[in-house]
Amino acid sequence: MASEVNGILVAAHELKAPLSLMRQLALNMQCTEDTNTQDRLCNQLVNVSERALLQVNDLTKIARLEDGLFAMEPVSVRGICETVARDVGSLFGFDRKALAIEYKNRQRLVVANSELLYSVIYNFCTNAMHYSANNTTSLMTVSDENEHIRVNVRDYGPTLPISIWRDLNQGNLKQPTHISMRPGSSGLGLYIASQFAGYMHATLGAVRHRDGTSFFVELPVSGQACLF
């Protein structure tokens, strides 16, 4: 019961920021008569609401993981990375930041669920966007690691506290954890990513840098031939 209440509190806390931002954007739209400003605010409103909806959607998916409703299949990792990069590109742009992708992999297919993998990488990217310093470029790298493919997202923000880094790398992230060096973070995105990675038998981890953090997910390579 206590952990359920904690989970609800964390989700409520995480949704408070986009909701109050959406309210401010809407109120400012009402106050301004300049149509260019109205269009820009409207665009931002749509983007913030979509991001919040995706997070709510992810939370409902966690509850459905036990039912095994998410089929594992050969998935093009590059395709998913490119879709995520396209979807978060405008969000990075609002913040005067950028996201680059670098492919170092020969293998193209992994065994995963495309919806869940999308969410894992999306969470890494929005995290990088939020905590990176202005005018920096976060880097998404896709590389081969023996029989796995690693998707790594490097950000340039505060580094991850050792305790969370240890829990994450040992697979012990059992509930959302407030990340003290990353203000406003409840760790919900990381928790969602760890739950989805666990379902897909993927490995989730982080690398601490002095000027930021890399979050990665390693997925088993699919034996199916890739035709593209």
């Binding site: 408070k16 920021a17 401010q24 106050c31 931002q44 005067r96 406003g184």
Partner: protein, 139 residues
């Protein structure tokens, strides 16, 4: 020329604060033209910062007339700036509006030069623009 600094790490929220501040300054300009009109061209500037380091650097170069400050920032938080500002004679006199998602009491922060506290969840742009107008009119 009146200078307002906005310190907020969320770029979209910073733009919302900027728009409200701009409205406040325009109202001030029409109500008290002598407060702003030091030349015929520029009467006010609004500068936005996403972290304490950049803001501190700018404050050292030129003192603002008003600071609008978020508390939960990436890196050092808003309290560290409040502590820094109160230790110098010139910066201690700068009025500060705190805009935060934290439940803060203005009276508890008054000794830092905080003259208003707004909660992001319930604040309206009109409240902020009125506060900007009122504080700068009485400065």
């Amino acid at each position: 020329m009146v200078k307002v600094f906005i310190i907020e790490d969320d770029v979209m929220m910073a733009e919302c604060l900027e728009l409200a501040t701009l409205n406040g300054l325009r109202q001030l300009q029409s109500s008290y033209p002598d407060k702003l009109a030091t030349d015929n061209y520029t009467t006010y500037t609004i500068s936005k910062f996403t972290n304490i380091f950049d803001a501190t650097q700018a404050i050292n170069q030129s003192l603002p007339d008003l600071i609008i400050l978020d508390i939960l920032l990436s890196g050092p938080d808003g309290f560290s700036l409040l502590n820094e500002l109160m230790t110098y004679n010139d910066t201690a006199a700068i009025p500060i509006i705190v805009v935060s998602s934290l439940d803060l009491n203005q009276q508890n922060l008054a000794h830092y030069g905080v003259v208003r506290v707004f909660r992001k969840e319930i604040m309206t742009p009109l409240q902020l623009s009125s506060a900007v107008q009122e504080i700068l009119a009485n400065a």
